[in-house]
């Protein structure tokens, strides 16, 4: 990280808790760059997170108000904070298991209500901190601590989920595309109303090792190779979209037109029984 952003880090916090090769450090950098480029008043900046590796992206690292909450509840806490003081810029940063599984209800309802929040989902396709259990974003067939024979269940497409729930702005980029990712975060923060950024952030320790990505580079290559811009995806047949990482930005207008929304479907899996 360039030293320019040291001013945004809490003094005394020397090292992150992230494993070597974790994508969350890149995301932390992207968030700080977005905050810096937008010139946000840090005294009016509140970060809210839940439980899990991604919840540590803001807490304790970022030198701003940070509220490190319970597993899954970050969006509900953030809603209360934003309503109590609308002058605050409130940014939720948490993981896929936290925001979408345990906190799924809060996520869709905050989107429905249109509360002016920015929610950044550090999506590593697995429960990292608690030991590599499958989550609602784990790919079909992927090995996890709780799916030793491959995940049989369909995967949530967070873009469709949150857009369908009423978000004003939704974007998806991987940490391997830091510039568009950062621009999407900036746009999300500037969006009045509920904005959501799904950031694909590889987890070498829990996801990579179990799924035979022998080194970090191979896992990042996978993420890079899965990327498909939404414009390109719109021209491909459905059969070619399964498992791909369709990236881009979406607004409610896309819902109305029905075009460009990824339809990667549940894949070949299904419940084991």
């Amino acid at each position: 990280m360039t030293r320019v952003f040291e001013q945004y880090l809490r003094p005394g916090v020397k090292a992150t808790a992230f494993c070597p090769g974790c994508g969350h450090g890149i995301l932390l950098h992207g968030i700080l760059r977005a905050v810096d480029e937008l010139g946000l008043d840090r005294e009016k900046l509140l970060f809210v997170s839940g439980i899990g590796c991604a919840a540590w992206i803001p807490s304790p690292h970022i030198l701003a108000d940070t509220l490190h909450t319970l597993h899954g509840r970050a969006v509900a806490y953030a809603t209360g904070a934003k309503l109590a003081n609308p002058a605050l810029t409130v940014i939720v940063v948490s993981g896929d298991g936290d925001l979408v599984s345990i906190g799924g209800n809060h996520l869709v309802h905050a989107a429905r209500r249109g509360v002016d929040l920015t929610v950044i989902c550090a999506n590593n396709e697995i429960y990292g901190m608690t030991g590599g259990q499958a989550g609602p974003t784990t790919p079909v067939g992927a090995i996890s601590a709780t799916t030793p024979r491959g995940n049989p269940y369909a995967t949530f497409d967070l873009v469709k989920l949150v857009l369908g729930a009423g978000a004003a702005y939704v974007a998806r980029y991987p940490v391997t595309q830091p510039r568009p990712m950062t621009d999407a975060i900036k746009k999300a923060i500037r969006t009045p109303g509920f904005a959501f950024v799904d950031v694909a952030s590889p987890c070498p320790t829990q996801f990579g090792r179990r799924n035979r990505f022998e080194d970090v580079g191979a896992l990042y290559d996978r993420t890079h190779d899965l990327v498909l811009p939404r414009e390109e995806a719109a021209m491909r047949p459905q059969s070619e979209l399964a498992g791909r990482l369709v990236v881009g930005e979406w607004t409610p207008e896309d819902l109305r037109l029905g075009a460009g929304i990824p339809h990667d479907g549940p894949g070949p899996g299904g419940p084991p029984c």
């Binding site: 809490r10 005394g12 840090r42 005294e43 009016k44 509140l46 809210v48 807490s59 304790p60 030198l63 701003a64 108000d65 940070t66 509220l67 490190h68 909450t69 319970l70 509840r73 509900a76 806490y77 953030a78 809603t79 209360g80 904070a81 934003k82 309503l83 109590a84 003081n85 002058a87 605050l88 209800n105 809060h106 309802h109 209500r113």
Partner: protein
Amino acid sequence: METLAELLPRAGGVFVQMEDEIASISAVIGASWTGAKAMTATSGPGFSLMMEALGYAVFTETPCVIVDVQRAGPCTGQATRVGGGDVMQCKWGMHGDVEIVALAPWSVQEMYDLSVRAFNVAERLRLPVFLMADEAVGHLHETAEFHDRIAVEQRDRRKGFPPFGHGDPGGVPPMPCFGDGENLLVTGSTHDERGYRKVEEPQVHARLVERLRQKVLLRRDELVDVERYMLDDAETVIVAYGFTARGALAAARELRGRGRKVGLLRLRTLWPFADKEVAALDGRARRVFVPEMNHGQVLGEVRKHFRGDVAGYGQTDGEVIPVGTIVREVERLT
């Protein structure tokens, strides 16, 4: 809550109906840290759902008020009928050892007065305060007096002090809020006085848990609130709270009319428990009788502190305990 939805926005406040009770208490905590006086109200299973976040409120020293209009449980139970089975839950329902403050109103007037008190105590001590009402009080219509001016405890928002530490064992640190420029670090994990996570250090955890307990216990004399009726020469003392205490008062008067020396010790606070006040009955009263809409949740506490005869009457059928039942039970004892 329907009334608050109408009135709060008119008074410059905010009302939001969240998606569930977990979200409600979570939003309350978020709002409190942003400087607002915040509350929620629930009953039965909704109260159970809030337990995890209530532990968070205790541990992060977040002022807030929770109104629990107790109904007949367990589970969904009798959704619109009365119960009193949450007395222990508000104290012990959160995992880990906590001390909280719980008030027990018995009238519409006290729903008002004790709500004000609950907010003031919550702000002064930085903790969740429970208004443990019951359905009979919750659905009561009654003449009550509302005041033009009320004494309101303002939060100590001084900056520059550690927001989670205090030199005194039961000290309450100042609580600046989000947006005050303090770069607050708030976590539900064990934390040091500045909010840094310190989950590996036994002394930090022990010191924090103990201070949070002593915050309440050292102030028990100012917190514990009882009312005494006809106790001077009472041989039998009824200890009661909430709606049941009104039946107990009527029963005590009726028994006095029959020449029985009966009095009432009414608990207006459930927690911290009125241990000294109950113990003070020793040597004067011969027996204590505890009627309640559960199977002995306060009875057990009374037994710990009164050495004479203690008997209870537990009723959990979704109905209030009739005055006649209390009269009958006391006469049976004497």
